[in-house]
């Protein structure tokens, strides 16, 4: 059996087993894909970016463009300035993006390359841009890399003219393209002028045409990023991930920010919509209210199947905070909530949620942890459902637990990136999948006499 995890727990400090995070550059790369006609650029050896493109390709099943400085032994000793200079020139010459977003790697960080100075010395073609962010993987995780790259764009591009452009800026934590599409549809239904940054929809989920585009239609435009400084407010969606880019923008342009939880679940979505109304005076249209009603109806219809059921949730901080909130609303018990991303704020945020539902004695949250630990927790005190990335499938199989794939990455299924997680629609999908997983399991293991065609 696929189960090398012993039940007895032991103390580990130096050894990471079955990580629940990955490195900063892939987050920077993903953020950069959310900018229109942008080429992500990894300043380091060629291997890192090959891996980053591969994992994104395996998740979205689409080609992901990014380049690297292709460090050799020489660059690792003498620094990577000439590699960057040649690389940037080559990229503009051959792929002709409007902007190149450079992120560092462990290697270029350790050798101490000064990207800011390197970029100042570059010969950048008229009307084109090169921005950068520092993304050492020995700190944080891919989530920090995503936030850092957002900050990089803002630092280089955003300005204030002193006059507001009347738009609301929205900074989402790491999101699936489907969620960005849903967010935009809410804003559009409410008639709110906005800039969503970054916006990978239309890039990583581009439709089938019969030709290949290096730069598909989607992405926040450079003008929009420049205009962030003139937005009325910035709405940060994800209290863990986006405070940093919000702060960068506020510092540079004075734009005030409002932070909200990532809008997964009823209350988090309610708060998003109420905040939008507060900020703009525009009412929530009936169509959205109707969705909310449908969601409540669904939760009620199926509640005997999910109430009191325990679950384990793992993945990225903001995403799983949202999922935790939703399962609590469904009357479930999120026994273990675990992220690999380091940061003490995360367990505190989870704790506040547990307390709001009076389940703090039965639920635990972990940061900077891994899936080997999660497996051991589950072996010692099982759960009814497991919710997380594809890497949960080993645990789910070994322990025979219903498994709901959610978050990033999901490398072993198709089409998930087309359906939302956020908003009322996203919550409906979660409820359907969670109850479905539990009921499929019942169908699979129950004795014949309990096997029922109506459930």
């Amino acid at each position: 059996m696929l189960d090398a995890t012993p039940k007895t727990q032991f103390k580990r400090e130096a050894l990471r087993i079955n990580s629940c995070k990955t490195c900063q550059p892939v987050g920077a790369l993903y953020a950069a894909l959310g900018v229109h006609r942008c080429m992500p650029y990894s300043h380091g050896s060629q291997g890192c970016v090959a891996y980053h493109r591969t994992v994104l390709t395996r998740h979205y099943k689409d080609p992901m463009m990014a380049v690297s400085s292709s460090f050799t032994e020489g660059a690792s000793v003498f620094g990577g300035k000439s590699n960057l200079t040649t690389g940037v020139k080559n990229v503009f010459d051959i792929y002709q993006p409007d902007i190149i977003a450079v992120h560092t790697t462990c290697l270029s960080e350790v050798i101490g390359d000064d990207l800011k100075a390197f970029i100042q010395d570059l010969d950048i073609p008229e009307g084109k841009y090169v921005v950068h962010s520092n993304t050492p993987s020995f700190k944080g995780s891919h989530i920090n890399g995503y936030a850092a790259m957002m900050g990089g764009f803002i630092n280089y591009l955003s300005q204030t003219t002193g006059q507001t452009n009347g738009k609301l800026a929205v900074f989402p934590a790491w999101s699936e393209p489907s969620d960005l599409r849903l967010l935009k549809s809410y804003l559009e239904q409410m008639g709110i002028a906005y800039t969503l940054f970054p916006d990978q929809s239309g890039v990583v989920d581009a439709p089938m045409t019969d030709h290949f585009e290096y730069f598909p239609k989607g992405g926040t435009t450079i003008e929009e990023i420049q205009g962030l400084g003139d937005c009325t407010h910035v709405l940060g969606l994800g209290e863990w991930t986006v405070p940093e880019p919000c702060a960068v923008l506020e510092k540079k342009c004075g734009t005030k920010s409002i932070l909200l939880p990532y809008p997964i679940g009823i209350q988090n979505t309610d708060r998003l919509l109420m905040t939008l109304t507060d900020l703009t005076g525009k009412p929530v249209p009936y169509a959205i209210e109707e969705e909310r009603g449908q969601l409540i109806d669904l939760i009620l219809d199926q509640h005997i199947w999910t109430s009191q059921k325990s679950c384990a949730i793992f993945g990225d901080p903001d995403f799983i905070l949202g999922v935790t909130s939703l399962v609590l609303e469904m009357g479930m018990l999120p026994k273990y909530v675990l992220t690999g991303t380091p940061g003490h704020a995360f367990p505190k945020m989870c704790q506040a949620l547990f307390e709001a539902y009076g389940v703090e004695d039965q639920c635990q949250a972990f940061e900077f942890d891994d899936l080997f630990d999660l497996h051991q927790f589950i072996k010692n005190d099982p759960v009814d459902v497991l919710i997380g990335t594809n890497y949960g499938k080993q645990i789910a199989r070994a322990e025979s637990i219903p498994f709901v794939r959610a978050g990033w990455p999901v490398l072993d299924r198709y089409g998930h990136y087309l359906w939302p997680n956020i908003g009322y629609r996203g919550a409906m999908r979660f409820v359907e999948r969670i109850s479905g997983a539990i009921m499929d399991h019942v169908d699979a293991v129950c004795p014949d006499e309990d096997f029922d065609v109506v459930m």
Binding site: S45, T54, T57, S68, D93, Y95, H211, F212, E213
Partner: protein, 444 residues
């Protein structure tokens, strides 16, 4: 508009059929969307299939998390290799050195499990911060009854091929001290990673002919089988790109000769089985090999005939890792009546390209370490119907409206041997003749 100029630096990496060669085995150009991976990646994919080893990645987390359980190598026993172990280096370790953390990580593995074999991979920054990984491994071997083998694989020190070589050195370090009783009848299979259980197919063929496989490198291998490998009489080298070096070393140190073989495609499978028997020099074996291959081919022919109609005259493009695999694929396409219009590899050697250019027509494009721009340009120019490649090429093929078959880690079915020909043919047909193509490019 896609831009399909070719970087001037890349011109020498592109050639045509008819005997001319291309530049290869160099590093990628800065700023190119290269399909090529790093030294560590090369070393990891070669060693990871060893099922009962602890593969500890010494470095920051990324290098290990991207390589967790991705090879698609199957095991008949241990599943340990499907976990991911890393020292997850933090800023502190970078400043003060990570050797001590590595020592503790090994201690932690030993404390709870009972490893007999650990590989420690040194990634890019480990060399730069100056950790003495070899010393840590040596100390671990002194402290505990186990083998702890360093794999020197900083990504920048070359390309994937160099990583293969580092893996081979690690394997030699492992098996060098093994006892060596006089050669027994049996072979080692090098360069097969048991993707979709392919080793089991080959093992079965050889068993029928009467040739036992002693050890496999490295698909479905474990400590015990590897340590028996020096007893073999002959080494069979399948994925030549990754394993020729090891075969050379084993010949030099253990006196085991090797032959290069390939089990992809009908022609190469039969030829290889007969050559193995010939190399062992036993007339009984040779006779059985001939009989077996004839019988298998006879059974395969009606199948090939039946499918030929749907496939003949389709144009295939090949973009794979090693040169040897490309060669087998060209032969199989020829057998299917298909034309190979593009051949590219990531790590092909000069001699591979020479043979390739002889096997294909003068108009066939030959590429080394192609980027998507080049691939796209030639796929269109040559009117290819099908691309055979790896994970990064699949979506590109689909976006261009081409059928696709994964001949890499993500293959769904065994592609080796006669069964492999059947699977390969069905899979290609499935993709080439899917109804989805009729909806392409149309509007509502």
């Amino acid at each position: 508009m896609p831009h399909t100029d070719i970087l001037t630096e890349r011109k020498n990496f592109i050639g045509q059929g008819g005997g001319k060669t291309v530049c290869c085995d160099r590093d990628s150009v800065s700023g190119a969307v290269s399909q090529r991976a790093c030294v560590y990646c090369g070393a990891r994919v070669v060693l990871n299939p060893i099922t009962d080893a602890y593969h500890i990645i010494h470095g920051p987390i990324g290098c290990s998390s991207y390589t967790w359980d991705i090879r698609g190598s199957l095991s008949s026993d241990d599943e340990l290799y499907r976990n991911s172990f890393s020292t997850d280096l933090s800023e502190q370790d970078i400043v003060f050195g990570g050797a001590e953390k590595l020592t503790r990580a090994i201690d932690e593995v030993v404390a709870k499990h009972h490893p007999r074999l650990i590989f420690v991979y040194a990634t890019c920054i480990v060399g730069v911060i100056g950790d003495d990984v070899e010393a840590v491994c040596r100390q671990a071997e002194q402290k505990y009854p186990l083998r702890c083998i360093p794999v020197k694989s900083p990504g920048f020190s070359g390309n994937k091929s160099y990583g293969y070589r580092m893996a081979c050195e690690a394997l030699m370090a492992l098996i060098r001290p093994a006892p060596r009783p006089a050669g027994r009848l049996g072979v080692n299979l090098l360069g097969d990673f048991n993707l979709a259980g392919e080793i089991w197919i080959i093992r079965h063929y050889l068993e029928i002919i009467g040739i036992p496989i002693i050890s496999t490198f490295t698909g479905d291998a474990n400590y015990d089988t590897l340590m028996q490998s020096p007893q073999a009489r002959l080494n069979l080298v399948q994925c030549a790109g990754s394993m020729t070096y090891l075969a050379g070393q084993m010949e030099e140190e253990f006196g085991i000769p090797f032959i290069k073989i390939s089990f992809f495609g009908r022609e190469d499978t039969s030829a290889s089985l007969i050559r193995i028997a010939q190399a062992l020099g036993d007339s009984g074996l040779i006779a059985r090999a001939r009989a077996f291959t004839q019988e298998q081919e006879a059974r395969l022919l009606p199948f090939e005939q039946a499918w030929r109609e749907g496939l003949a005259h389709k144009k295939a493009a090949i973009y794979v890792g090693g040169g040897f695999k490309a060669i087998s694929l060209i032969r199989q396409f020829n057998a299917m009546g298909m034309e190979t219009v593009i051949v590219g590899t990531q790590t092909g050697k000069a001699e591979d390209y020479e043979l390739i250019s002889q096997l294909v027509g003068p108009d066939t494009v030959i590429l080394d370490d192609a980027n998507p721009a080049e691939l796209e340009r030639f796929l269109k120019e040559k009117g290819a119907d099908l691309l055979v490649g790896g994970v990064k090429e699949r979506p590109l093929a689909y976006k261009l409206g081409l059928a696709f078959c994964d001949h890499n880690h993500e293959r769904r079915h065994a592609l080796a041997g006669y069964e492999g020909v059947r699977n390969f043919t069905r899979e290609i047909n499935l993709s080439l003749n899917s109804p989805v193509w009729s909806y392409m490019g149309g509007s509502i």
